[in-house]
Amino acid sequence: MTAEGAGPTLMLVLVVAVLVGCGVILLLERSLTRILLGVILLGNGVNLLILLGGRAGGAPIVGTGPVDEMSNPLPQAMVLTAIVITFGLTAFLLAVAYRSWFLTGDDEVPDDLEDRQIIRRAERNEVGAADLGGEGPDDDPEQVDPEPARRRLRRGEEA
């Protein structure tokens, strides 16, 4: 940032643009490791952008210098929080990528299986889960006509 505290330099804006651009391109990949790198770049780009929101200058402590030459401490405080959050997210994503590699041998994010099944069924013009009835008297105990209780009981006595 400029020493006069005039605002962000073009250089820093360009850095933000490059970081975010590279991050987005990497996010479009299928492999979790590249997505992870994308998230790191994107996160750093966004954090830098927040930092640009404040005026640059001296330490913002009353008594160390003239007040109107101090930097704006609020974006710095926010960016600290944001860095910690990005760090946590990165660590978790790394763990997921590792676990995925551990379980399946690669860290690619595959398509959803159920989605594919439904697309295949739609191509063949089939119904998801047809209610084919199946309510014959044979396989349903309640549909079978029960004999009158008296006759049943009598037969039980005879047997």
Partner: protein
């Protein structure tokens, strides 16, 4: 009264720490988390009464006055959301305690479940109570990180696969949100919502529109509004039943809450109302058509979840008091009902061993209580009178007709169609899973469902019915909240009593 305000955030966080320490004593751990959430619920009810009677409750944290320091604000909307969300989280917690030894017990470290669940609750309450944009971001992050852990609980192959989609999409939406926060600060020099509401008005129209769209994009991903909703049905169904239930009930609604808050307080001029309406209609129709095609119970409910988000966005897009009031009522109704349905799906899985509609059947005969527990919320969701779903939809459709114009009328039509299709989906599930002859997979061996699971589900079904009975007073509260939101002054005056600097 402001002293109560931090409790819904602090109590679950302290509870999380305590339950982590008590990892070796599951019994005490469970008792602590249930007590924490019960406490949160009580505080939330007190806050709602306060906010309804005396206006927004404000607490200035750290003693710095408002525009400089961080504020927590509970106006009627926030307090109402707090009450419903804490009631739902409490019921789901009891359900998961009842489930205990089955799904979460065998394959996963159940030790982690309770602390993470409490952190999730703290994140949700932080987002509801946040009085500045950055605090809202922090609330979102707290609940997201907790939800990452819950959705990949156990680290099985399917959960990692679906979880990675969820994590990447959520991280992306957080980045967009963070960028928007940075840009808002750059443009206005403040993040306090009350102060922003004044300073944003002074910005040029185009800058304001860019900021609005950016925030809207971030929240719409979280709320699963149509073009941005594809991640939800892929990631929710594989998580354990209580986790899916609480996600479905709360996480998307936090997004909807954020949309309501920003659209009313920060950007009241309605520049994007038409866009929101189109998006709402598409969300309803595409979501419910997706549900028609599904053959798995949990995926089917995920699609109805997406579809019914459209109703709330419709209410917001109308930006009249009636529309907003209907939207808030619908949020309250939908949190309860959608959570209940996912809990029922969990019970079906426990009882029949599967949620796949091709493999289950005849549950109404084998487990009649389960049939009732499904039937009531399913009809409620579809909007069959006299349930709260009907009242909520009626409120929204009336508001749409009252607003007039081609687009609102088209939306009224889409809403009615969606309601009918939801009824079709619900009756299809009822026919296949509950009414046809029992399948072999269902019959033997008979699993006794844990009482606590049934009890928690019954409690939520009953809560849904209470919403129906108390719909009149509830509509009073939501109308009041909507009027306050639209006039903006009660919120701003409560946060900045000495006027805007």
């Amino acid at each position: 009264m402001g002293t109560l305000l931090p409790l819904p955030v602090v109590v679950p966080l302290l509870g999380a720490a305590l339950t982590l320490l008590l990892a070796t004593q599951p019994r005490i751990q469970r008792a602590v988390s249930v007590l924490c959430l019960a406490g949160t619920f009580t505080v939330a009810v007190v806050l709602l009464v306060q906010a309804y009677r005396y206006g927004p409750v404000v607490m200035v944290i750290g003693g710095w006055p408002a525009p400089v320091g961080i504020v927590l604000v509970a106006d009627q909307l926030a307090a109402l959301m707090l009450v419903v969300s804490s009631a739902v989280t409490l019921c789901v917690l009891l359900y998961s305690v009842g489930q205990g030894r089955s799904e979460t017990g065998e394959t996963t470290p159940v030790v982690i479940f309770h602390p993470t669940y409490l952190v999730l609750t703290a994140g949700v309450t932080t987002a509801f109570l946040a009085g500045d944009l950055f605090n809202l971001f922090v609330g979102f992050e707290i609940l997201l990180v907790a939800s990452f852990v819950l959705i990949t609980l156990g680290g099985t192959e399917t959960r990692i696969r679906t979880g990675s989609t969820y994590v990447v999409v959520s991280v992306l939406s957080s980045m967009i949100f963070l960028t928007a926060v940075g840009l808002v600060y750059l443009a206005t020099g403040t993040l306090n919502l009350a102060q922003l509401s004044q300073r944003l008005d002074a910005l040029p129209d185009r800058v304001r529109l860019a900021l609005q769209l950016m925030l809207l994009l971030a929240f719409a991903i979280k709320a699963a509004v149509f073009p941005l909703s594809a991640w939800l049905p892929d990631s929710y169904p594989t998580a354990p039943a209580p986790v899916t239930a609480v996600f479905a009930g709360l996480l998307t609604k936090v997004g909807v809450y954020a949309i309501i808050r920003t659209e009313t307080l920060l950007f009241p001029d309605g520049q994007v109302d038409d866009l929101l309406m189109v998006v709402a209609g598409l969300t309803m129709l595409v979501g419910i058509l997706g549900a028609v095609a599904q053959s798995d119970l949990k995926r089917l409910f995920s699609f109805t979840l997406v579809s019914h988000i459209g109703y709330m966005i419709f209410g917001v897009a109308l930006s009249t008091a009636a529309g907003l009031s209907g939207a808030i009522f619908y949020v309250v109704h939908h949190i309860t009902i959608q959570t209940t349905l996912f809990l029922v799906a969990g019970l079906v899985e426990e009882r029949a061993g599967s949620t796949d509609l091709r493999r289950i059947g005849g549950l109404a005969r084998v487990a009649p209580l389960l049939g009732v527990l499904f039937f009531v919320p399913a009809m409620n969701l579809a909007g069959v009178p006299p349930f709260s779903g009907f009242l909520g939809k009626l409120g929204l459709l009336q508001a749409g007709v009252a607003a007039g114009g081609a687009l609102p009328f088209a939306l009224v039509g889409a809403g009615t169609l969606t309601s009918l299709l939801t009824l079709y989906v619900a009756s299809r599930v009822w026919n296949i899973a509950f009414w046809r002859a029992p399948r072999i997979a269902t019959g033997d061996p008979v699993v006794q469902l844990p009482r606590l699971m049934i009890g928690a589900t019954v409690a939520l079904v009953a809560f849904g019915l209470v919403l129906t009975v108390l719909a009149g007073p509830l509509f009073d509260v939501t109308t009041d909240a909507a009027t306050d939101l639209l006039s903006r002054t009660p919120y701003v005056r409560a946060v900045l009593p000495d006027g805007v600097p």
